[in-house]
Assembly symmetry: C2
């Protein structure tokens, strides 16, 4: 993957602001130019949403946040940037002017992407000196969570530019898909416009109201499309006989007089009122901020579900998330822990996410063990037992765990964990972890665990190699000078 | 909710078979008539998929499965049925004939639903004697997982029929949505046809291939639509200014020359070949059965994610699942446990689902605690501490847990759990649970737990009421005659 060193966002707003959030959260400095008087406020709100969403989305080590700078001109913004994203209003003359201005001031090798949802890149790059590095990178709202960017080149765009853009997007967790030929509205908005047109007719003709139409989508093909697209879904529907069979069976429907798509619905005041009123009845009980929050939690949950897909290998957006996390791990600064330091190790910062709580907002019992498990993983990485080590066929397995609940963790609570080594030998590693509430520094739960070093193919305990044992010993010796933690060595029901 | 007593499926196949699976898994007997020579095989395969999916979908107590009977005629199938579902091939004359035949033989109050994906109910009910009870119930593939059924009445359908159908569908976990007016293809297939038409043009014109088009869907609006439909999504996009603003901003695009929807694509052999070849390149590495399995795991995971939505209250299809589970619990036979019996209680049967395993196919550590937590819940229900009890403000909270791992649970393993009470007083309840592999009867893990009876509002331990304590005492006294389980009272690292 190819890193982005500095980004510039021309045009803030909901789209530009979310691009900025993606960059900043991936550790990239961003300069923003937007003459709108409320640009800083809007971007601040988007950034808050994005940070909350990322807090739930991943436990992988995000790098230190990049710096946001608000600047006074396009020229100032693009200085030193190698990715410049244009997100100004959707008018061809305005966009073309801004892009020409960017082109003149930017490094000639900097990539220039446009967030346009429909204008052809050929029309935007017309007046550029270096048009070969300009393309459309069309994202989807909420841009800080949905990973797609359609990459579309114009007549003068170099193919290498699109490949480069795709590689760079991966480093900020996004999925660039290259569209072969430019057309207005590209691919996604073509499909969306088709549904939108048909949907407007259904509402206008009183076939159903907006809530029913939405329910039809989200209780059926919406869930299908979160994980497989239209063609793969229909491939399955065709069964063993395959796509050819499916098209033969359903193709003819296309000439039936079903849709009204040949006409364009007239957006009269009456129709607009009808839609607005139905939408109020459907969703008006909740404010936009609340709906946003619910949507983002759902999208995070869906991506987590897809991460478990294909028997844990990950599927679709979940696989992409895994790949992004692998990238983050590979690029994370190795923790510089002084293995001889005489205090418990600080391992993890996390937050109680919506998927972790019961209907009372309390963290579910087994999620405590999930946090302790992530803590053990953190300890293991410190002694050199990382993903690669595990893939090579050795690991530490938990054989015994003792958990005490001392308090309650609630939705949104910030937590951190520490770990103290209690004992070790060439196979065994015994330690004591504590989950603290980050606000109060009070312990919420403790876990004493015994792990065993195993040859995972042979399925039996074996001595750990010297490079691991050296670190284990250093930690064990240092921590032997700490007092034994209260609660260690305890059995269930023991009097204090 | 109104229970269905007996169902009939006229026409098996993938759709009819999945309807049958829904009925049977909800405890309803089904008679199936399908003259197709392979009907039993096809339905058997669908049933196997459905059972596997339900095994992952819910831990709620499904009633004993209904009985499937394959019969020789429509008349025989509909005897005594109060829901009759027609799923024969999509030809109006054929369907009308079958429905007229059903009508003549069935109880006059039995509901008759058609699975047609496009034919108007008025055309189907033309020759019926009791047309008021006939309607379209149009489901979505995979019918055993996707909850939607569009309920559409014809000219002669009674409104009460649609309401009754909706209530009955809830008892088999489905979401009936009533469509106001009949039109060909109803609502969902109208929207799908619009996308399908536009998609075919995009492939024909080489704008992108099928894999890119599918990626555009599933990395962006597909995930949005799994949880909110088009109008609610756009309401958010409109921001505080609302739907009116959104339509004012984006409505005009409709008259731009974007889509090619005014034309119908010609499905030449060349285009069919192109699509089939692209689809092979995209998905051909996996067989249809594997894709089905992956899809079903994903859909289950998405519904689980949505179950956690809206801060644990559930959202969309996840909320529906919660409601279905509440219904199952309310209708579950209370376990008739002899509290004085001298053997550990058998509590739970479950299976290691795809969402529970790591990339090696091993059950993740914290999922063990989830199974133990479900086991504790089962024990608590036995002593009268159920959902209602908890909602009234009292509960048992876990304060301490000691887990030993004795073996490994792998993807798909069937597991069961047992529980032995070790000690109790008016506040405390100490017990020892074991997870067994159902195949080998070998213990996989054990957990010793201490729970405390609490007033959850006051957040402090209080004595349990007499009706709970009586049961606790009976169990404790009976189990006192059992040997103390190996591993009880153990602390971490203790020698055997």
């Amino acid at each position: 993957m190819t890193k982005i060193n500095k980004a510039a966002c021309i045009g803030g707003g909901v789209i530009g602001g979310a691009w900025a959030a993606r960059f900043v959260l991936a550790g990239i400095d961003v300069a923003i130019f937007d003459p709108h008087p409320e640009a800083e406020r809007i971007i601040g709100e988007v950034m808050a949403n994005a940070e909350r969403a990322y807090g739930m989305l991943t436990m992988a080590p995000l790098p230190p946040k990049g710096k946001i700078t608000f600047v006074k001109s396009v020229e100032e913004a693009v200085q030193g940037a190698d990715w410049i994203q244009e997100s100004v209003p959707e008018r061809v003359d305005l966009k073309r002017g801004v892009i020409t201005q960017i082109d003149a001031a930017a490094d000639p090798t900097a990539l220039i992407g446009s967030s346009t949802s429909g204008i052809m890149p050929t029309d935007l790059q017309r007046d550029m000196k270096h048009p070969e590095r300009m393309f459309v990178a069309h994202p989807y709202n909420p841009v800080y969570l949905l990973p797609l960017a359609e990459l579309v080149g114009g007549e003068k765009t170099a193919r290498a530019t699109l490949e480069d853009a795709k590689a760079k997007l991966a480093t900020i967790g996004m999925k660039g898909v290259i569209i072969n030929k430019e057309i207005e509205a590209f691919v996604g908005d073509r499909l969306l416009e088709a549904v939108w047109r048909e949907g407007l007719w259904l509402i206008k003709d009183d076939i159903c109201d907006t809530e029913t139409l939405d329910d039809v989508i989200r209780y059926s093909f919406g869930m299908r499309w979160a994980q497989m697209g239209m063609f793969e879904t229909y491939r399955i529907a065709g069964g063993e006989a395959g796509m050819r069979h499916f098209i033969a069976q359903f193709g003819p429907c296309l000439s039936w007089p079903w849709t009204k798509l040949t006409d364009v619905v007239d957006l009269t005041d009456e129709l607009v009122d009808k839609i607005a009123n139905q939408s109020d009845a459907q969703s008006g009980a909740r404010g936009i901020r609340e709906l946003e929050r619910i949507r983002d939690q759902n999208l995070v949950g869906i991506m987590h579900a897809l991460k478990a897909g294909d028997d844990g290998r990950g599927w679709g957006a979940g696989k992409l998330l895994t790949e992004f996390e692998d990238y983050l791990w590979a690029n994370a600064k190795k923790p510089e822990v002084d293995l001889g330091e005489v205090k418990p190790l600080k391992i993890l910062d996390t937050k109680v996410s919506a998927a972790w709580v019961d209907y009372n907002g309390h963290m579910t019992e087994h999620r405590y063990l999930q946090v302790f498990g992530d803590t053990s993983d953190g300890v293991l990485r410190l002694i050199g037992v990382d993903l690669e080590y595990v893939r090579d066929g050795h690991s530490y397995y938990t054989v015994e765990t003792h958990i005490r609940h001392l308090g309650e963790a609630k939705l949104g609570d910030a937590l951190y964990t520490t770990c103290q080594i209690l004992s070790s030998d060439d196979k065994r590693l015994q330690f004591f972890s504590t989950i603290y509430n980050a606000q109060t520094n009070e312990p919420v739960a403790t876990a004493e665990q015994m792990m065993l070093h195993v040859d995972s193919k042979a399925g039996k305990a074996v001595a750990a190699p010297a490079q691991v044992l050296d670190k284990v010993k250093a930690l064990t010796e240092a921590h032997a000078r700490l007092p034994v933690p209260e609660g260690a060595g305890r059995h269930v029901g023991q009097k204090r």
